[in-house]
C-alpha cells in the first residue's frame, strides 16, 4: 500500500540506489539493463538466506514434521541420514549451492522435489493470477479514469469508497461471500475447485496438457469443458482481482489527477479535443509509468493473496499446496516453495523495471 505514497515522484519508483548510481555514470539502456539484471542475484541470495536462517532457527525440519510419530532413535537416524546434524554453515553452503543449480530440496511428507511441486501446481497459480489481473484491469483502470475525471463529485466519492472497500476486504472473506451468494444460494457457479471431475478427466488424457486448464480446455475443443473451466474461474478471479482492482483504481485516479492538471492537457482542451479522448490519450499515457511500476509490486501481493484465495476455493495451486505443507509441518517444502517464490518475485520485478525503462527514458537516466 505504501507504493502509492511514492507514485507522485517518478524517481522513487525507480529501482534501487546502486542501479541508479551506476546507470547514471555511464548512461545507456543496455548498461541499465545489465546492472538491473545483476541486481537480481543479491536479491535472491538475501531472500533465500533469510528464509534458510529463519526456518532453521526453529530446529531441524524432520523433528518438526515427524516429531511425535517416530521413536527418538529413529528420529536421530533420519536426521543423520538427511545431514541435519552437521554444522549449520555446512548445510547452508550446501543449500545455497543446490538453489543455484535449481534444486530446492525434497519435501518430507511426500518426498517429492520442490521443483516438481512447482511444475505441477505453478500453472494453476499462474492461471489464477492471470484471471485476477484481468479483473483488476477491467475494473480498476476505467473506474480510476472516471473517478479522476469526476474528481470530488458523487461518482468519485462512490468509487473511492469502493476502492477502499476492495482493499479493506480480506480476499478470503470476499471469497467466502461470493461463494455463499453465487454458489450456495443462487447455484449459478461452482463452489470450489478448478474444474469438475468430468472436465478434469477429459483434460488429463490430452497429449500436450500444460496444467493450465484454460489452455487445456481449448485443446479439447469441447465447449462444455471450456465453459466448465471458465465458470470455476469466475469467483476466485473476482475475489483476488478486486483486491488489486482497488489498488489500480486509486493509482490511476491519483496519477490522472496529476496529469489532467498539466498545461498540455489544457492546451489540448483549448484546441477542442473532446473530453473522452483527452482522458484516454493525453492524460492517461503519461500516467502509465507509475502504474506499470506498481504492477510489479502487485505481483508480490497477488502471490500472497493467491495463498489465501486458493485455500478458500480449494484451487489446487502453489498456494493451496503451501497451506497443506504448512498444516503438515513440512518445513522443507515450505522453505523450498517460499524460496522459489522469491526467485519469481525477483525476476518479475526485473521484467517490470525493464518495461518501465523502455517506456520512460527518465527511469534509466
Amino acid at each position: 500500500m505504501t507504493a502509492e505514497l511514492a507514485t507522485p515522484d517518478p524517481a522513487s519508483a525507480a529501482p534501487p540506489v546502486t542501479a541508479r548510481r551506476s546507470a547514471s555514470s555511464g548512461g545507456g539502456l543496455l548498461r541499465y539493463l545489465i546492472v538491473r539484471f545483476l541486481l537480481i542475484i543479491p536479491t535472491i541470495f538475501i531472500l533465500v538466506t533469510l528464509v534458510f536462517v529463519l526456518m532453521r532457527s526453529t530446529g531441524d525440519p524432520i523433528t518438526a514434521a515427524q516429531g511425535g510419530k517416530l521413536t527418538a532413535a529413529e528420529l536421530a537416524k533420519r536426521i543423520h541420514d538427511a545431514g541435519y546434524d552437521r554444522p549449520i554453515l555446512v548445510q547452508y553452503f550446501e543449500y545455497i549451492g543446490q538453489v543455484f543449480t535449481g534444486n530446492f530440496g525434497n519435501t518430507i511428507t511426500d518426498n517429492r522435489p520442490v521443483t516438481e511441486v512447482l511444475y505441477t501446481y505453478g500453472g494453476a497459480t499462474l492461471e489464477l493470477a492471470f484471471y485476477a489481473l484481468i479483473v483488476a484491469f477491467i475494473v480498476g483502470i476505467p473506474l480510476g479514469m472516471v473517478a479522476a475525471y469526476f474528481r470530488d463529485n458523487a461518482p468519485d466519492a462512490f468509487l473511492r469508497i469502493f476502492a477502499i472497500l476492495c482493499y479493506a476486504t480480506p480476499v478470503f472473506f470476499a471469497g467466502l461471500l461470493l461463494k455463499l451468494i453465487f454458489a450456495v444460494w443462487l447455484h449459478v457457479l461452482p463452489v470450489a475447485g478448478r474444474a469438475s471431475t468430468g472436465a478434469e478427466l477429459q483434460m488429463q488424457v490430452l497429449p500436450g496438457k500444460t496444467g493450465i486448464y484454460l489452455i487445456d480446455a481449448f485443446q479439447t475443443g469441447n465447449p462444455d469443458v471450456i465453459g466448465d473451466v471458465l465458470s470455476h474461474a469466475v469467483l476466485p478471479g473476482i475475489a483476488l482481482g478486486l483486491l488489486t482492482a482497488g489498488v489500480f483504481l486509486r493509482l490511476v485516479r491519483t496519477n490522472l489527477i496529476g496529469t489532467l492538471g498539466t498545461d498540455y492537457v489544457d492546451a489540448a482542451r483549448s484546441r477542442g479535443v473532446n473530453e473522452f479522448r483527452l482522458v484516454r490519450k493525453h492524460a492517461y499515457r503519461p500516467a502509465l509509468i507509475p502504474i506499470i511500476t506498481v504492477i510489479g509490486l502487485q505481483i508480490a501481493l497477488l502471490l500472497g493473496g493467491a495463498v489465501l484465495t486458493e485455500t478458500t476455493f480449494e484451487w489446487k495451486g502453489l498456494g493451496f499446496q503451501l497451506a497443506q505443507y504448512l498444516a503438515s509441518r513440512d518445513f522443507v517444502a515450505v522453505q523450498g516453495i517460499v524460496a522459489l517464490l522469491a526467485v519469481i518475485v525477483a525476476v518479475t520485478n526485473f521484467i517490470v523495471d525493464v518495461i518501465a525503462a523502455l517506456i520512460d527514458p527518465r527511469v534509466r537516466y
Binding site: 522513487s12 479522476a148 480480506p170 461471500l177 478458500t312
Partner: protein, 347 residues
C-alpha cells in the same frame, strides 16, 4: 517531544495542537466526510476493543452458560444474537473480543516496527557507506517479497506455527513487524539523506555537535513528516496480515483469545452448507476496522498532498478563516479548478 519543540515557531491554539484536529478543520466536503467517518469507525473499534469484557455477553472461549452448552452452528436467536460457531462459541462475543486481539496486535507491531525502522533508517541514511548499501539491498529484497509469506515464515520461527498463549499476539506482531521495518526504513532513510545536506545540519557539524545529537535533534525531528500516514496504512495492513495468518491456521487458539481470521477459517466449511452467520460477522468486523483506519489514512494522505487536497485547504492552513465550505469545489470536469490546484502545488 514537546521538550524539543523550537520556541521560534508561532504558538498555535490549544485546539489546533490536538492530533488530527487540524486536519479535520482544514478538510472540506468529501474529504472531511471521509476523515470524520474514518475517525468515528476507528474510535468505535477502539472502544469495542477496550470495553469487550463489559459488553460481550459471554467469554471468548465460553461454551456453556448455567451448565447448558450453547450448541454448535445455532442460527442467530435472542440468546445468541449472531448465532454460534461450529466449535460451539458465541459468534457475537467472539466478534467483540476479536477487536481486542486486533488492537493489541496493531499497537505492538506498529510500535516495534516504528522504533526499529526509524533507528535503522536514521543510522543508515546518516552514516552512509557500506552499512547503508547493505541495509538498502536487504530492505529492498524484503520489501519486494510477499508480506504474508514472510509473516508465515516468521510465525513458524516464533511460535512453531501454533500459539496457545496470549503470547500468540506477540508472535503475530513480531511477524508483522519484520514485514513493516523495511517500509519505515525506506521512508526515514530517504528523508535522512535529504536532510543530511541541509544547511542547518552542516552548521551543527561546524560548531562541533556530535553525530548522535544531530541525528536525534536535527534529523529525526524533520524526518517524521510522513510517519502518521504510514502508521495508519500499516495499522490496517497489520490487521489484514493477522487475519490472513489466522485464516491459514497460524492464528491464536480459540481458548487463548478470539481472532477473526481464525474464526473465518473455521467458517470455511460452514459456508458450503449455507451457514452464513459464522463467516459474515467476523468478516464484517475485519472490513469495518480496516475501513475505518484506511479512511483516516487516505484522508491524511490527500490532505498532505497538495495535488489531491481540496482547494480550500491551503488557504485555511495558512490563515484560519470563517468561511468554511463556502468555496465551491469538485468542478474537476471544467478544467479551471485543476489549474488552481496545480498552482497550489507549486506554491
Amino acid at each position: 517531544m514537546s521538550r524539543l519543540s523550537t520556541p521560534s515557531r508561532p504558538r498555535r491554539s490549544l485546539a489546533s495542537r490536538i492530533p488530527l484536529f487540524d486536519q479535520v478543520r482544514s478538510s472540506i466536503g468529501l474529504q472531511r466526510g471521509m476523515l470524520v467517518a474514518g475517525l468515528v469507525i476507528t474510535l468505535a473499534f477502539v472502544l469495542v476493543a477496550i470495553l469487550a469484557p463489559v459488553i460481550a455477553p459471554f467469554g471468548f472461549s465460553q461454551l456453556r452458560s448455567d451448565g447448558v452448552a450453547f450448541g454448535a452452528q445455532q442460527p442467530p436467536s435472542s440468546s445468541h444474537l449472531l448465532g454460534t460457531t461450529v466449535g460451539g462459541y458465541d459468534v457475537f462475543s467472539r466478534v467483540l473480543w476479536g477487536a481486542q486481539t486486533a488492537l493489541l496486535t496493531i499497537i505492538v507491531s506498529v510500535l516495534l516496527s516504528i522504533f526499529i525502522g526509524i533507528a535503522l533508517g536514521l543510522i543508515s541514511g546518516y552514516l552512509g557507506g557500506w552499512l547503508d548499501r547493505v541495509l538498502v539491498v536487504v530492505c529492498d529484497a524484503v520489501y519486494a517479497f510477499p508480506s504474508l509469506l514472510l509473516a508465515i515464515v516468521m510465525s513458524i520461527v516464533i511460535s512453531g506455527g501454533r500459539s496457545d498463549l496470549t503470547g500468540g499476539i506477540l508472535a503475530a506482531s513480531i511477524s508483522i513487524t519484520v514485514v513493516f521495518i523495511p517500509q519505515y526504513f525506506r521512508v526515514i532513510r530517504a528523508e535522512t539523506v535529504r536532510i543530511k545536506n541541509e544547511a542547518y545540519v552542516e552548521s551543527a557539524k561546524v560548531i562541533g555537535t556530535r553525530a548522535p545529537r544531530i541525528i536525534l535533534r536535527h534529523v529525526l525531528r524533520n524526518a517524521t513528516r510522513s510517519l502518521p500516514l504510514l502508521l495508519t496504512l500499516n495499522s490496517s495492513e497489520a490487521l489484514l496480515t493477522l487475519a490472513g495468518l489466522g485464516f491459514l491456521g497460524f492464528g491464536i487458539e480459540p481458548s487463548a483469545a478470539a481472532e477473526w481470521g481464525y474464526d473465518l477459517n473455521k467458517a470455511l466449511s460452514d459456508v458450503t452448507s449455507g451457514i452464513w452467520w459464522t463467516a459474515l460477522f467476523p468478516g464484517l468486523a475485519i472490513v469495518l476496522a480496516v475501513l475505518g483506519i484506511t479512511l483516516v489514512g487516505e484522508s491524511l494522505n490527500d490532505l498532505a498532498d497538495p495535488r489531491l487536497r481540496g482547494r480550500r485547504a491551503a488557504v485555511d492552513s495558512g490563515a484560519p478563516s470563517a468561511d468554511n465550505g463556502a468555496v465551491p469545489h469538485g468542478a474537476g470536469a471544467s478544467g479551471a479548478p485543476l489549474i488552481d490546484s496545480n498552482e497550489e502545488a507549486r506554491s
